[in-house]
């Protein structure tokens, strides 16, 4: 009786450890909530870039594709695409903001 209990306890502990190790290792499959979160972050980044006329060409497309993947249940694809779009949004914003001052390039001599 005691050994049965012990086995169950061991199994539970094992699965907990395995689960947290998987999360720590990043093996954990993203779920719908994670996908929605990533898409929301991507859209926010896209809007931020757009606010300074810095949106890149494909950012919106990647977000659409992420939404479609999420709808189809492929959450890891959705997250991957959304992360890519978020990175583009951030880079596009920084690109414009870093050029707030006009600098005539040195190859054009006055």
């Amino acid at each position: 009786m005691k050994s049965k209990y012990l086995i169950i306890m061991l199994m539970l502990t094992f699965s907990l450890v395995a689960g947290s190790a998987a999360v720590l290792a990043g093996d954990m499959q993203p779920d719908a909530a994670a996908a929605m979160d990533a898409i929301a972050k991507a859209e926010a980044a896209r809007k931020k870039a757009a606010s300074v006329n810095g949106e890149w060409r494909d950012t919106g497309k990647f977000i659409k594709q992420a939404e479609e993947a999420a709808k189809a249940g492929d959450y890891s694809k959705a997250v991957k695409l959304a992360n890519k779009a978020e990175a583009e949004g951030q880079l596009g914003y920084e690109q414009q903001v870093s050029q707030s001052e006009l600098k005539i390039p040195s190859y054009l001599k006055y």
């Binding site: 757009a50 006329n53 810095g54 949106e55 890149w56 060409r57 494909d58 950012t59 919106g60 583009e88 880079l91 690109q95 414009q96 050029q99 006009l102 600098k103 005539i104 390039p105 190859y107 054009l108 001599k109 006055y110």
Partner: protein, 275 residues
């Protein structure tokens, strides 16, 4: 004595820190291109890449024997002559017309914005209860082709008026846009059209910006039709993987203002044919 010295000092400082005006910008561009293409005469710049690419020019001259934009000129003439529903016509909005392309772009003091020809055409249509035209594709290219053809030989003369500081601000915004890197490829207009003019991007030779605006609208073989300058702006932005801005929006109109100034003194030669 002290006043004189102070005045001289102030003058000296302001001379050093004075911003280059539009004329200085234009001359810097011309100097740059002259050094890059010493044998190309100034008036040839209106032919863009065909002023600097002899093989492209040969092909282009062959195409110009039966210009692909001719049907668009004819369609445009029909548009110009057809009365609106209210009996009026384009002639009433543009009594000097149709040879009016050289009057644009210009600073509109009343509206506080750069006025371009397509914008003015749509204002005419809307004022007469007609539906406005789209700015990149479609029938606007017909009427622009007709006006451009009638305006051939007119000289570009963009003015940045002294009496309205907003005009200079718009010019400077256009200039800023020209030199700003954008898109995933991180290019500015200057990257291709100043730094690398005469060199190739894939198979195409990059044209200089002096002469860029004179030959619009353009029949582009790639489009299989005539398209507007702002359509080309959108295409260029897409090429460098930047999301295109709005045709006839503020940014592209300011860019057109700056770009057109660079072509001051050149003769209009639209519509054009390009690869």
């Amino acid at each position: 004595m002290k006043t004189i010295l102070i005045t001289l000092a102030i003058l000296a400082v302001s001379a050093v820190t004075a911003q280059a005006g539009p004329e200085e910008d234009r001359m810097a561009f011309i100097k740059h291109y002259k050094a890059r293409f010493p044998s190309v005469p100034r008036e040839e710049y209106v032919n863009g890449a065909y002023a600097i690419d002899p093989i492209g020019r040969e092909n282009w001259e062959a195409i110009e024997e039966f210009p692909p934009y001719e049907p668009f000129i004819d369609a445009g003439q029909a548009m110009w002559e057809k009365p609106f529903a209210n009996g009026k016509g384009y002639k009433d909005c543009f009594p000097d017309g149709p040879a009016i392309a050289h009057q644009y772009p210009h600073w509109d003091k009343g509206k506080g914005m750069v006025m371009t020809l397509p914008l003015a055409l749509n204002e005419c249509l809307q004022a007469n209860g007609e539906k406005p035209l789209k700015y990149k594709k479609g029938p606007i290219n017909n009427i622009l082709s007709y006006i451009a053809f009638q305006s051939r030989g007119k000289v570009v003369n963009v003015v940045v008026p002294d009496d309205d500081p907003r005009a200079m601000a718009a010019f400077e915004k256009g200039k800023k846009f020209y030199f700003t890197r954008r898109g995933q490829l991180n290019f500015s207009c200057a990257t291709c059209h100043v730094q690398n003019t005469g060199l190739k991007v894939r198979t195409e030779i990059l044209s200089p910006s002096v002469g860029h605006v004179t030959h619009w609208p353009v029949y582009r073989s790639k489009w299989g039709t005539v398209g507007t300058l702002h359509r080309r702006f959108s295409g260029c932005n897409n090429n460098i993987r930047a999301k295109a801005l709005q045709a006839q929006g503020e940014e592209y109109r300011n860019l057109e203002y700056f770009l057109s100034y660079l072509s001051n003194g050149l003769e209009l030669n639209g519509p054009g044919a390009r690869k």
